[in-house]
């Protein structure tokens, strides 16, 4: 039998997944949860332990096309995933409760789904502290996603929705494009996740002028990663860089398209560094991310104190990285370490990181890059 999907854990998520894929099998240890799962149309429910090899074989593990383990117990998930791996199930997805276990699952060679517990805790904290999210604590009130030319800005739009939905509807996403169909599609996607969206139709080729003139009140512009050939580089035909030069708001180049689990901030003593840090902390707060701060230049003790205080307010774990040696090389080393999902850098800075190197980071880093001017 082809196309069989085995889901271990019949909780809310397991049931949602089963609903999307009719014909799935749910294995659930708790009879009452199993009872709820059995109401799903075209789904078989088996009561038992998901880590029981015999049981798994009985339901047809050896011919399953996908194995999804979603219990809230990392041990059960690990055991069942190991068995599924041994029987060569092509697609294995596992829920990981404790981020520290993630590496172990990765070594096993399975896809992981992490629920950022801290993100939820921060979110609840915000709800408790005041009437909903304090508008000061969201990084951007309005995010602009321009759809430039042939670029569909899929990643950019996804990350915009991610940030907006994490901001609990306090962030508005604005899309501009010359393609009415594309705008309709994006509108539908935004509605699905409950993010307020505004559309703008514009004539082809007027983007940069438009951004310069009357749309500069956006708090952040998110654009897709752009693959540029050498010839474009030489002729400065680089849309991203053109955009960055002409607008004053932060610009995010989207590549990660996922929760930012770990954010890197490069700080020098330029005037924008405080602003950069606040934005990074606010994003880290929204996503429950860890924040690594690479201090490139000597900072005043007052500034360091302010960083610490701000981190406490936002409930963000700040990891301080010290530069030993050449600041620029150390920065490149961190940027290229693959440890981060988002890098926040000053667009101009004090020259510690050469502007040519900033442009390189923007163009060639492997994760999302947010530049603040």
């Amino acid at each position: 039998m082809m196309g069989k999907r085995i889901i271990v854990g019949g909780g809310r998520i397991g049931r949602e997944v089963a609903m999307q894929f009719p014909g799935s099998i749910i294995i659930e240890a708790d009879p009452s949860a199993a009872e709820r799962s059995s109401r799903i149309h075209d789904t078989r429910v088996v009561i038992g332990d998901g880590g029981d090899e015999k049981l798994l074989l009985d339901v047809g593990l050896d011919e399953a096309e996908a194995f999804i383990s979603l219990t809230d117990d990392d041990e059960v998930n690990y055991r069942s995933a190991t068995i599924a791996k041994r029987y060569g199930v092509p697609k294995i997805v596992v829920r990981v409760e404790d981020p520290e276990h993630e590496e172990r699952f990765r070594r096993l060679g399975v896809e992981t789904v992490t629920f950022p517990a801290k993100m939820i805790a921060n979110y609840i904290g915000d709800l408790l502290r005041s009437d909903g999210l304090d508008s000061n604590s969201i990084p951007f009130g309005k995010i602009l996603v321009p759809l430039i030319g042939k670029v569909r800005a899929e990643k950019a739009f996804k990350e915009a929705l991610l940030i907006a939905s994490a901001s609990n509807g306090k962030t508005v996403v604005e899309v501009i494009s010359s393609d009415i169909m594309e705008l309709r599609k994006k509108e539908a996607m935004a509605r699905e996740v409950g993010v307020p969206l505004f559309n703008h139709l514009l004539e082809e080729g007027k983007l940069i002028e438009m951004l310069k003139s009357h749309l500069h009140e956006a708090d952040c512009i998110i654009i897709d990663d752009e693959k540029i050939a050498l010839i474009d580089r030489l002729l400065h035909r680089n849309v991203i860089l053109q955009l960055m030069r002409s607008v004053s708001c932060p610009v995010l180049v989207a590549r990660t398209c996922n929760y930012y689990r770990h954010i890197l901030v490069l700080l020098d003593s330029s005037e924008v560094s405080e602003r950069i840090l606040i934005i990074a902390l606010q994003i880290a707060h929204l996503f429950g991310s860890d924040l690594s701060v690479l201090v490139l230049e000597e900072m005043s003790p007052e500034f360091r104190e302010r960083i610490k205080k701000r981190g406490e307010v936002e409930n963000v774990d700040i990891i301080k990285l010290k530069v030993d040696g050449n600041a620029m090389i150390e920065a490149v080393k961190e940027v290229k370490s693959q440890k981060y999902d988002l890098i926040v850098i000053p667009w101009r800075g004090t020259g510690i990181i050469r502007s040519s190197m900033i442009r390189k980071i923007v163009n060639d880093a492997s994760c999302s890059v947010l530049t603040v001017a």
Partner: protein, 378 residues
């Protein structure tokens, strides 16, 4: 006599001079030259400055000094403050150069003296600005860019001028672009390496390298440029200077490695050069003929910087513009070095060289002092 005796005496002097000159309030370089004059042929006659080892170390000190001057040229200022200050700085230099040419002609000297008089003293100016606490201000940055451009342009002009003069190397002129090609080649290679292998390069700059691999790499880089520029018939100092600029452009400043290089330079090699400059100082020549040149040269040195600096009056107050001109009038290592090159090429005589050295000493003392005293006061 021990072969190390001259070096021993120089080392002791090099150690004592900064302590004493700080007390009196003169730059250490000036103290070194004065000491050199005293122990040299002109007064006590202990050394001639031609002792084998000393002569070489002094020449290498000069080359290394140019490397460090190049290292001090920080392009991030130009990068950050845009084209406007760069254009203003270039304009200021052209005005300075033109003024010097006109006035030097009145004295009956040629272009080479005008080139020498157009230079600045970037190291001295940066440290003065640091003392006053305005390195970060736009005003301070503008002065620095002006000084950078002046020193850079002087090196280029000296190179161009020597090529023009040395007929023997004229056929080699087409090779000079090679040096700049190498410059850009190394630059792009360096940038690529930083991006591709940050881990490996990071080691060069780390403070805990037992074999000081970074220092070795710096010397190798510098000497590639030095050897190549000599092979192409240019002055060794041009190569050293370009290597320093390259280093600064690629890696930026303020690193431990830079501190180590400063240690080797200012701690050992460069004092030998300046003491040696003093030792070969032609005091008799100065007294018998050169001395009367000094007031005229001083006047040119001041006018050639102060009048052009009035182009700043649009942005800053008149007083600030004039003070910028005064500070930019200070000259030191660069001018002394260029004078030495001039003597070597037979472009100026030792009498004029002595006058130039005296001029450098005077401006390096009075100009920063005037700036410090008057800046920020009404």
């Amino acid at each position: 006599m021990s072969t190390y005796l001259p070096l021993f005496i120089i080392a002791v002097l090099a150690f004592l001079i900064p302590i004493i000159s700080e007390r009196i309030g003169i730059p250490a370089v000036v103290g070194e030259i004065i000491c050199g004059i005293i122990i040299g042929g002109s007064v006590l006659g202990i050394f001639s400055g031609e002792e084998g080892g000393i002569a070489f170390l002094s020449r290498f000190g000069f080359v290394f000094l140019m490397f460090l001057i190049g290292l001090e040229i920080d392009f991030s200022h130009v990068e950050l403050h845009g084209l406007r200050s760069f254009i203003l700085g270039t304009l200021m230099f052209l005005l300075t150069f033109a003024t010097s040419i006109m006035m030097v002609h009145q004295l009956g000297y040629g272009y080479y003296l005008a080139i020498i008089l157009s230079c600045s003293a970037i190291g001295l100016i940066v440290s003065t600005l640091r003392e006053v606490g305005i390195t970060r201000s736009e005003y301070g940055q503008t002065i620095m860019i002006f000084a950078f451009i002046a020193d850079f342009a002087v090196i280029m002009l000296v190179t161009a001028y020597t090529f023009y003069l040395k007929s023997g190397v004229r056929e080699k002129v087409p090779f000079i672009p090679l040096l700049f090609l190498l410059f850009f080649g190394v630059y792009y290679l360096g940038r690529y390496l930083i991006w591709r292998f940050p881990e490996g390069l990071s080691k060069l700059f780390r403070s805990d390298q037992p074999s000081e691999i970074g220092v070795r790499a710096s010397f190798a880089l510098m000497l590639i440029f030095v050897v190549l520029s000599e092979a192409l018939g240019a002055e060794a100092i041009l190569g050293a200077f370009l290597a320093g600029v390259m280093f600064s452009v690629l890696f930026g400043g303020g690193t431990v490695l830079e501190q180590k290089l400063y240690g080797i330079g200012y701690g050992f090699l460069i004092p030998i050069f300046f003491i040696n400059v003093g030792m070969s100082f032609n005091l008799d020549g100065l007294i018998s003929g050169g001395i009367h040149l000094v007031p005229a040269l001083l006047l040119i040195a001041l006018i050639a910087k102060i009048i052009p600096s009035l182009i700043l009056a649009g942005t800053y107050t008149l007083k600030e513009s004039l003070l910028a001109g005064v500070l930019l009038s200070s000259r030191l290592s660069m001018m002394i070095g260029m004078a030495a090159v001039g003597v070597e090429l037979g472009l100026i005589d030792s009498r004029l060289e002595s006058a130039i050295i005296l001029l450098a000493m005077i401006t390096s003392i009075i100009c920063p002092t005037i700036f410090r005293r008057l800046y920020g006061k009404y």
